[in-house]
Structures are given as C-alpha cells and as structure tokens.
Subunit: 231 residues, 2 copies
DNA sequence: CTGCGTTGTGCCATAGACGATACAACGCCG
DNA sequence: CGGCGTTGTATCGTCTATGGCACAACGCAG
C-alpha cells in the first residue's frame, strides 16, 4: 500500500509542546534580531508571536532576551538555552526523518518466548529477537534497513562475541545503487527478503554482487514487534 | 535539558493524513460493528465520524463496508485494506516510539569530507561517517544507543569485512541494568562516552563488567548529522 | 405495513488557534 | 523634549475542527 509515513516532532515540557512552528519563530527571532521583525518575516501576527514566546518561557525557562526602548527601539535575541533547544529539536527531527524515510522489512510470526520487554519471535525465516509489547503472541516484526549490518561470511562476528542478537545467512539478490547509498536485498529464504541500507563504498569493499554470500546481523534492541490482529 | 521528545504519526496519501485519531475511530468501528456505536463509545459525534470516514476513503480507497437497514438496522465492518492500514500505522508508530525513547550520544565536529549524502565528520573522539544534510560544515552527530553494537575485541569484525563503517575501541564505564535491557556506557576517550542499549543477556555473554575492553560499531546509514550553529 | 436501528446529510453552536488593530510603556537619540 | 521602533496587552474577527441536533433513506423483523 503506497502510503507515506509522516510525523510532527515536538519537544514537551510541563505540558507545553515546542512544535516546528515554534522552532521557526525562535529561529526567525535569532535572524531578525527582534520579535517584531521575526513575526513580520514569517507573515504572522506580532501579538500572537509575543504571547507564544511567553507561553514557551513559562514551560522552558528564559528563551528570548527582550528589551524595549533604546537604540533602534530595542530588540530581542535568543538565550543559550533557546539555542540549545533548537539544536535538540533539529537532532530529534533528523532522527525521525531517518525513520520515516527508511525502508523496512516486515515479518509476521508468533512469540515463543518472552522475557520482559524482549521476546523471541518464530517467523518463516527463523527466530528473531525483538522488543515486544506485553500480552501479545501474534506479532509483526519491523526491521529497518539502516539497522541491518552486512558482513562477509569469513569475517562475520561469532554469535557469542557480539551484541547483535539476530543473525541470518543469505545471498545478495539485488543491489539498488544510489549516489552514495545502496539498498541491498538479501535473500534469506525463498520466502524472505531482507533489505539493508549500506554505503556504496561498503558494497564495493564487501563485493556485494548478485548472489554473493553475506551474513546479515541486527540488534534486538533496534527491532520492534507490534501486536497483529489474527486474520 | 530535561525535555521529552514527542511525536504525532500520520500516514499520508493524496494530501489526506490518517492520524492517531482516525486510527482510534477505525479500531472502534472494528470492535463495535457499527459506525454509530463506535462514535458513541469514543464520545464523538456520529456526524463528524461519518464525514471523516468518507474523507479517508476518498484518499485511501474503501475502508469500511457499511450497510443500512436489515437485521439490527445494519452495521459496518472494516475492509482488508483498512486492517492493513491499521497494522502499518502501528508498525510505524512503534518505530517512532523507539526513537523517541532511545538514549543518544551527541558529538560535535566538522565535516572534512563529503560524498553526496554521506560525510566524514572529524570529532574529538575520531572520525565518524554519517548521513549529513548538504551545505554545512559545523555539525552535530547523533548516535542512537540502539544502533550501537558492542563486540568482544577478539571477535570484533575486521573493518574490511563489515558494512558497519564506524568503529571505536573503548572500555566499559558503567552498566545500567534494566530488567532485560541494559544501558552500557563505553568510554572511548576521556572526553567521550558512547551509550549502547543491549540486552542483559549480551552483557553477561560478553562479560561487560566495568573496565572490560569492547569494540563499539555502528553504521553510517544509522547515524545522522545536523547543521550546528557556530557559537 | 409499522417499528427500529442503522447510514447519510445538512445546519448551527462551540472552542481553540491565529491574524488585525489599537494603544500604552519604554528608552535612546537627535 | 519629542520622535522612533521596539515590547507588552487588550479586544475583536476569522478560520477550522468538532459536537449537537434534526431529518431523510434504508431494509429486515414482526
């Protein structure tokens, strides 16, 4: 189904959420040097922008040093705390964007063992360890392509020596070259393809031609299962 | 700064976004067997719920089989497509939730080489390969704890044999045991701590006691950089 | 044929977010 | 001392999402 995952990021605190809209406002204040000019450059009303800044400061602490009167009539600039908030916002947003874009492999299976948040899921392709919500046995397991590491069979880490709890042997079926990133489809099983996102450089270094043997590994903590309605 | 990242998931199509609110509505229809009872059980108005279903179907295709008249007055049930949409929604939401919860390590540095989306960033602790937006040199690199794999030094994969492009040697500084998951802080440098989220079982299997030597690896494609305002 | 509970539709009310406008307060500067 | 551009504040109007309500259409059960 061709739907596109999308998201809105927020940084919450004291029940107030700093949204992308607020991020734009603070950023504009930083550039314009005054709340008034910032609201104007964004095509927003000064009144609302001013109120919003006060609301945000109630929750997040001092964000904008404002002064009125004086040379040029006054002005405003961001505090260090506000700069830090903006940086955090951008980082979080980038992380979410990465997830929204990422290809993913979905396996269906059943929980055969559980230990707290972690479960072992029996799937058509074998057993997968994944973070799993409580009280469900029929699950769908999602494996993000950027979480899958590919290894040459000879150099693949011993299962006992790595924290990557999931390990599948397979062969390269297809390499979808991008400019610097490549999407590699690994056949684990006639029924199961696993997609990995790796650099083109890795493709060349590992010799990931079609039919090359590879070992795919991924961490249990990067793998999420969700309850599946039995149909 | 104690802010909590939060998010709203949506599945977009044809300019219409299926939100968490819509997910609740569809789910309630599935359980209640009628649009009327569903709206009622959610404390929402039937009129709006009905209109919303039509809006969604305009964009996503047939979602609810509705019939009026007949035994019991009629009723509604979800189509397979709707069930599939709900499952997709849950999977995406779980992925985002994982990101929102995850601890992360932030490194600041400068881009010293760039090849399309990928860049090499020079940081205090060494060079990191990360997905990087265009046109920026001062960046902050985010490494999610669930993307970091820990290896015993003896079993660590050869840099040439794995697609994990980032590799740091260090020693365990602290292990924060949870029930089944543990947050391991690895000292790479006096200045740099890297946090990894691994299973408790891995902690025991790898013997991750304090001061144990480990090799931390993570993929470039799972590492995001964002522009940083030079201060 | 009537009753009943459903879907479908239209119209109005309400609440929240936001813009528009007006005006006071401030403080340097000529 | 007055001008100027800023911040601060109040009030009103608009837009959008949503709830409330009324009523028609439907189709089986009795």
């Amino acid at each position: 189904m061709d739907v596109s995952p999308d998201f809105d990021v927020q940084l919450g605190r004291d029940g107030v959420a700093l949204t992308v809209r607020d991020r734009e406002l603070l950023s504009a204040i930083d550039e314009a040097g005054s709340l008034n000019a910032a609201a104007d450059s964004l095509g927003r009303s000064y009144a609302h922008a001013q109120r919003r800044v006060v609301e945000l400061e109630d929750a997040f602490g001092s964000l904008v040093d404002r002064s009125r009167g004086g040379g040029g009539g006054g002005g405003s600039e961001l505090t260090d705390r506000a700069q830090e908030l903006l940086a955090t916002f951008d980082r979080v947003r980038a992380e979410f964007a990465g997830v929204a874009e990422a290809d993913e492999t979905v396996l269906t299976g059943r929980v055969i063992d559980r230990d707290g948040e972690l479960a072992t899921v029996e799937t058509a392709a074998g057993r997968v360890r994944a973070v799993t919500p409580p009280d469900c046995t029929a699950v769908a397991v999602t494996i993000r392509a950027d979480a899958v590491t590919l290894n040459r069979p000879a150099d693949a880490p011993e299962p006992g020596g790595t924290s990557a709890r999931n390990r599948f042997e397979g062969q390269v079926l297809e390499v979808d070259h991008g400019e610097t990133l490549a999407r590699v489809t690994v056949g684990i099983d006639p029924e199961l393809h696993l997609t990995a996102l790796v650099t083109v450089e890795s493709v060349e270094r590992l010799g990931l031609d079609s039919r090359a043997a590879v070992v795919a590994t991924f961490k249990a903590t990067a793998t999420r299962a969700v309850a599946r309605t039995e149909s």
